[in-house]
């Protein structure tokens, strides 16, 4: 068997038969012209999608209750980002594969303190508003248990909230401490558009890192709501879809498919497990020439007879 394989390998090294004239440069030129025509034609016919991005201002105006609910969750750390873990904070160990905790080991590279960055900080930057500053000071001075009591009560109340005049949030009366005025002020800041810029500002003037505003918006409902309409959710095979009816990253189909089936679809470590599976499959894909069984599939399922049918016909095989 080994001797036969070695003989086959040696025989496949060089072609000892006939050659035919061939113009490589001409073929490449024609191929480039064909692809240019195809890409241009598809562009003229179908164009490309460009749905405007969402902003925090837009979110807070369209969905003020959802914004307020998210802001309270950021304040008490119960939001998705608040309890994410690395690389944003230490509030969770992150995902792992058996004893391998890569997410934890690589550390907090993009630190986010949701209460400070999304609520307290922006409120403190509001000028000439002693009422808000007093509310923030009261909140920060309160014991953690009291803070939790206030945010819990306000979160419950937001379940029954209605939208008032000017896109304000109206909740039933209750013991919310300074949380109600704080969130109300933050809503006003957000609706003015100031929070979009505030979350980008840091030490330098030019900004390209949208981590904080994007994660804040992702904790809310606007992005997910738009994504659902556009068939982009994970349960809708979102990673390989594109807005509108355009083809997206269809080459990610295998990556996406794992999220649709158990145990991945129900696992807390789904992302890590899917990455592991795809890593192993990618390695196997590259190493096919060395994988017994897999490398023999083309010989056992003779589709090559179709590929080389002209050759076999000419040689009488």
């Amino acid at each position: 068997m080994r001797a036969r394989r070695r003989a086959q390998e040696a025989a496949a090294r060089q072609w000892h038969g006939a050659y035919v004239p061939y113009d490589l440069v001409k073929e490449f030129a024609i191929a480039t012209a064909v692809v240019a025509a195809l890409a241009t034609g598809l562009s003229v016919l179908f164009s490309s999608p460009d749905d405007k991005p969402s902003t925090i201002a837009q979110w807070s105006r369209q969905m003020p209750v959802d914004f307020a609910t998210t802001a309270v969750a950021e304040l008490d750390g119960s939001s998705t980002t608040g309890g994410y873990g690395p690389p944003y904070n230490h509030n969770a160990p992150g995902q792992h594969i058996a004893f391998i905790h890569l997410q934890k080991w690589l550390g907090v590279a993009h630190p986010i303190d949701t209460a400070r960055d999304y609520v307290i900080g922006p409120l403190k930057s509001i000028p000439n508003d002693p009422t808000v500053q007093r509310a923030v000071a009261t909140y920060q001075a309160a014991p953690a248990a009291t803070q939790t009591k206030w945010t819990g009560a306000y979160t419950t109340a937001l379940g029954k909230a209605t939208t008032g005049p000017g896109n304000t949030v109206v909740v039933p009366a209750g013991e919310y401490g300074p949380v109600a005025p704080m969130i109300s002020s933050l809503l006003g800041v957000a609706q003015s558009g100031a929070l979009d810029g505030d979350l980008l500002t840091s030490r330098q003037f030019f900004q390209t890192d949208y981590t904080k505003p994007l994660l804040f918006m992702a904790d809310g409902g606007l992005l997910a709501s738009r994504a659902q309409t556009q068939h982009l959710l994970g349960t809708q095979w979102g990673m390989m879809n594109e807005t509108g009816s355009f083809p997206g990253q269809t080459w990610l189909w295998l990556y996406t498919v794992w999220y649709q089936v158990k145990p991945f679809s129900t696992s807390h470590n789904a992302d890590a497990l899917v990455m592991l599976v795809m890593g192993v499959l990618s390695l196997a894909f590259v190493c096919i020439p060395f994988l017994p069984g897999v490398r023999d599939i083309p010989r056992r399922i003779p589709l090559y007879r179709l590929i080389w049918r002209n050759h076999y016909r000419a040689s009488g095989a």
Partner: protein, 237 residues
């Protein structure tokens, strides 16, 4: 040994020309069995890559916001998008074709591996493009992709929600990587040639005896003359 032969430059030149002499690098003949439409998809993939780079360069010249504001910018973005779709479409067919040919046979494992790696590098090259679009699609994909990347620690140094970093990867680092691996792949194809059909893998051929098989007539009617491998080993794809 002359001075030029002893120099590093001379040695590099000698090795390069020895591995890929001009008639192997740019052959004007190919094995007669290279006679199927499946062979076209390799060169189509290369052509699509050229279109991606050309349209990408034009978009880069005007900056990342241009295509949102100008009609002509949007048109070039459309060409960029469709060239990417065509690139992956052609490459996947090319890879499947090469799989069913068992194209790694006869010392061509590195050719297969560089092709497979080119596909794997092209995936993040495209992903960074999608998250650099500065539209809703980019927002959504970035917030979704971060979870997979974070779960295995990659997110600590490759932040999908950092537009500046993703844009750098998309317009420079990953295209350079794709082009480098594609060049390596093409040079390996040129060096080792196209894998012969299965039936030729016989002990007789392995022993270096002249093959008795002849290929099909060339499409342009040119005559076909069987040759020894040491006469001409150039091949394509």
């Amino acid at each position: 040994m002359s001075v030029s032969e002893r120099s590093w430059t001379g040695r590099v030149r000698e090795r390069a020309v020895g591995a890929l002499p001009p008639d192997k690098l740019l052959p004007d003949q190919q094995p007669a069995y290279v006679s199927s439409w499946i062979y076209v998809f390799g060169v189509l993939t290369l052509a699509a890559l050229v279109m991606i780079i050309a349209s990408g360069v034009i978009l880069s010249l005007k900056g990342p916001a241009w295509w949102h504001d100008a009609g002509i910018g949007h048109f070039f973005n459309s060409i960029h998008l469709w060239a990417v779709e065509l690139f992956f479409f052609f490459m996947v067919i090319h890879l499947w074709g090469k799989f069913w040919m068992a194209a790694w046979r006869g010392g061509r494992a590195r050719t297969w591996m560089t092709g497979a790696v080119a596909f794997l590098i092209a995936v993040p090259a495209a992903l960074t493009g999608y998250v650099s679009q500065q539209n809703f699609d980019a927002q959504w994909i970035a917030t979704q992709a971060k979870d997979g990347l974070n779960s295995v620690g990659v997110g600590a140094f490759f932040n999908a929600t950092n537009f500046g970093q993703m844009y750098s990867y998309h317009v420079l680092l990953l295209p350079m990587a794709v082009v480098a691996i594609v060049i390596a792949h093409v040079l390996l194809v040129r060096r080792h040639g196209v894998v012969p059909p299965f039936e030729l893998t016989t002990p007789k051929a392995a022993a270096g005896e002249p093959a008795t098989l002849t290929g099909p007539p060339a499409s342009d009617g040119a005559s076909v003359t069987p040759r020894r491998a040491d006469e001409k080993v150039g091949a394509h794809r």
